[in-house]
């Protein structure tokens, strides 16, 4: 019996473990080559070309994907409707393929159906149909780009989102600063204030219905709340002194901001339902730029209580204050990533400005962008990109000063300027819209 057992063990071991084990440590991190064919359509509109163009632009701008030139595609659009010829797409190096179809329904809506294929696994990864009014075609394109991004990276996208910012026109002496909003790719620009009084530091509410910002309306800086539908603005109740640097809590029920009274700035919270104001810091130093953690339990802010502006984290009720930055220079405008893993900030050192990142405990500080003036980081809804504004210096004749919004990947690669017709500063990225 024992011998039989031993024989069985020998058989089991030799058959089960007869496989070669190889460890592959490390990988490439290049943009993934993908193909996005024009969408088939019976419609007289140009949407079969325009929607894929927006999807290509979105994905290519993320720098996680490289779009293979449509001129190189071997398989025709007509034959794609039945089944992709995977060998044809492998031949041009595509890892994934997106194709779709647009139809018009009787109620005037358009229906956009698309499919995402894994070219090497020979299998469909996703397929969806979306319906909307024809004028919302850009939104449909952004939603499809988000779907593809999420399916291929495992993380939420950020393409169907907006950026609020300050549009700047006029020369340096008579600068007009208007609150404006646009799609994350710069399209659909819309002004929200008339520019009679200077607006600054806009921040979206989590449900996007309101924007809180600072305005010099009435002569002194005050926190205002703007309804994004009616465009009606109101000053918050009971704010004596200067109030600035406002930001919503993640549940949208509270605001945190700085208020300066008798030369001392402290951080306050404001309950939007009860209009109750609570002082969170009581230090003689200047405490400002508060930003909630995504779970709403902590607040990061900057303070000069150590002699220089440094970053601190405290509980949402103002207790348990801990310093987290210890580097050289001064730190300002901290903002917590929506995925909780980083705090972005502005750093001023030796006359230069930097955009940096650190872990919420202050470790792993990295500076990822710099310039004559770079400031005001804001996170994309998926916590992957940071938008900030970059100002160039004036020339000797007082001309040439420009302010533009830039984006950069948290890896520190791919800084890009967001194309705007006018100068733009103080960006605030919205949550994902869908």
């Amino acid at each position: 019996m024992k011998k039989l057992f031993i024989v069985l063990v020998i058989f089991f071991v030799t058959t089960v473990h007869a496989e070669l084990r190889i460890n592959i440590d490390g990988a490439k991190s290049d943009p993934t080559p993908i193909a996005i064919a024009d969408f088939a359509t019976s419609s007289s509109t140009n949407l079969g070309v325009e929607i894929p163009r927006i999807i290509r632009d979105d994905l290519e701008r993320s720098n996680l994907f490289r779009i293979i030139d449509p001129d190189a595609y071997i398989q025709t659009m007509d034959s794609l409707a039945t089944q992709p010829k995977f060998a044809d797409w492998q031949a041009i190096g595509a890892h994934a393929l997106i194709h779709g179809e647009i139809t018009e329904s009787l109620d005037g809506k358009i229906r956009v159906a698309f499919r995402l294929w894994d070219i090497y696994a020979n299998q469909q990864l996703d397929a969806k149909t979306l319906a909307t009014s024809p004028e919302s075609w850009r939104k449909i394109a952004h939603i499809i780009a988000d779907t593809i991004y999420e399916r291929l990276t495992g993380e939420k996208g950020y393409f169907d989102s907006k950026i609020a910012f300050i549009s700047e026109t006029g020369n340096a002496n008579k600068r007009k600063r208007r609150l404006a909003v646009m799609d994350q790719d710069g399209a659909n620009l819309r002004y929200l204030t008339d520019g009679k009084s200077m607006a600054m530091t806009p921040r979206f509410s989590p449900n996007m219905k309101e924007i809180v910002y600072m305005s010099y309306e009435g002569g002194k800086p005050q926190v205002h709340l703007l309804d994004t539908q009616t465009l009606k603005s109101r000053t918050l109740y009971g704010f004596e002194g200067m109030s600035f640097a406002p930001r919503f809590s993640p549940d949208g029920k509270k605001l945190v901001f700085s208020m300066s009274k008798r030369g001392n700035s402290d951080i306050y919270s404001y309950d939007l339902e009860t209009n109750k104001r609570t002082q969170l810091t009581t230090h003689l130093a200047i405490d400002t730029s508060p930003s909630f953690s995504p779970d709403g339990k902590r607040i990061v802010f900057n303070s000069d209580r150590s002699g220089r502006q440094q970053l601190y984290v405290m509980k949402a009720d103002g207790s348990d204050v801990k310093r987290i930055s210890f580097g050289e220079g001064s730190y300002a405008t901290p903002v917590w990533s929506p995925r909780s893993d980083y705090i972005a900030f502005t750093k001023i050192k030796d006359g230069m400005f930097y955009i940096g990142l650190m872990r919420p405990d202050g470790s792993s500080e990295r500076l990822i962008a710099n310039g004559w003036l770079v400031e005001g980081p804001t996170w994309s809804p998926n916590g992957r990109l940071i938008a900030f504004w970059k100002q160039s210096p004036m020339d000797k004749n007082g001309r040439g000063q420009t302010a533009k919004i830039h984006t950069i990947d948290i890896t520190g690669y791919y800084e890009q300027e967001l194309q705007t017709s006018e100068d733009a500063s103080d960006p605030a990225w919205s949550p994902l819209l869908h």
Binding site: K2, F5, I6, I10, V13, H17, A18, E19, L20, R21, I22, N23, I24, D25, G26, A27, S29, D30, H95, D118, A121, T153, G154, E155, M198, M200, F244, S258, S260, G263, S265, L284, A285, T288, S289, D304, R305, S306, G307, Q309, R323, T333, D350, G351, M352, R366, L367, I368, A369, N370, W372, L373, E375, R384, Q391, P393, M394, A403, I410, T411
Partner: protein
């Protein structure tokens, strides 16, 4: 007197010199003759990456953490390049060139009142010392004691010996350089997002069925992790196998069919562990 002393000294020297020539063989032990040198012709030895080590370690532990860092240069966060020219051309802006009321206004007002705190960094919490709990030590000793006799049972000992002898037999046939060749080819075919969240925690285990000609018959992802990036990383690992297999003569599996055709049963099933270690660009 002097003569007597001289003779005494001479005699003493003679005794000392005499002792130097004497052999007190009875005071030392005879040592054994050194063993004969065993000559091994190294050209006839096939080098495998392991000798007789049992392959019981968990795969994750086997991977050395000292993988050379990615060659890709850091994004050179321009930080290192101080823009001297810019600063020279343009007079340095006021505290902040743009209207930054948030801090700048207040900082100016408060400069005199600043109450300095020591800028000393708060001491980091010391890492906890491992507790040398006698109770746990005893428990573990007891555990060892309990296990020890079991290992000496003849059946299990035989099974262990067999296990060590047969498991990973292919590993011993395949040379280190061939194994490295396959791994490096697959690494080049594996393209991932280096900025994905928690990427360092992910390992993708893949089983590949290979045909005798080196073509790939099937690829199966064996594990699952509850991390957002796992799905895309595991799919990219599967894609990497297919991409590599499609490279014709450059396929990493071609080396198996070319050089190890006689051992097909040993490599028809491959177990690949994809670990993006050091692939993140932070």
């Amino acid at each position: 007197m002097q003569r007597k002393a001289f003779l005494f000294s001479l005699g003493l020297h003679a005794v000392v010199i005499g002792l130097m020539f004497a052999d007190f063989h009875f005071t030392r032990e005879y040592t054994k003759a050194p063993p004969a040198v065993l000559m091994v012709d190294l050209t006839k030895v096939k080098i495998a990456d392991k000798t007789n080590l049992p392959q019981k370690a968990v795969v994750k532990k086997e991977q050395p953490k000292v993988e050379p860092k990615k060659e890709e240069p850091k994004p050179a966060p321009k930080v290192d390049k101080p823009k001297q020219e810019v600063k020279k051309e343009e007079p340095k802006p006021e505290p902040k060139p743009a209207p930054v009321p948030k801090d700048a206004v207040a900082v100016q007002q408060k400069k005199d009142e600043k109450k300095k705190e020591p800028a000393k960094p708060e001491p980091k919490p010391k890492p906890k010392k491992p507790e040398y709990n006698l109770k746990s030590l005893l428990a573990s000793v007891e555990k060892v004691r309990k296990e020890a006799p079991a290992q000496q049972q003849p059946e299990e000992a035989t099974a262990d010996a067999l296990d060590n002898g047969f498991e990973g037999r292919v590993d011993k046939i395949l040379t280190i350089s061939d194994k490295d060749f396959i791994a490096s080819k697959l690494r080049d075919c594996w393209n991932i997002d280096g900025g994905a969240q928690d990427i360092d925690e992910i390992i993708v285990e893949v089983r590949v069925l290979v045909n005798k000609d080196g073509s790939v018959r099937d690829v199966k992802i064996l594990n699952n992790m509850n991390l957002p990036a796992f799905k895309s990383l595991s799919e990219s690992a599967r894609r990497a196998v297919y991409i590599c297999a499609n490279k014709g003569d450059e396929s990493p599996f071609k080396i198996l069919s070319d050089n190890y055709a006689d051992h097909y049963s040993d490599w028809k099933e491959l177990h690949l562990n994809f670990n993006p270690m050091n692939a993140n660009v932070f």
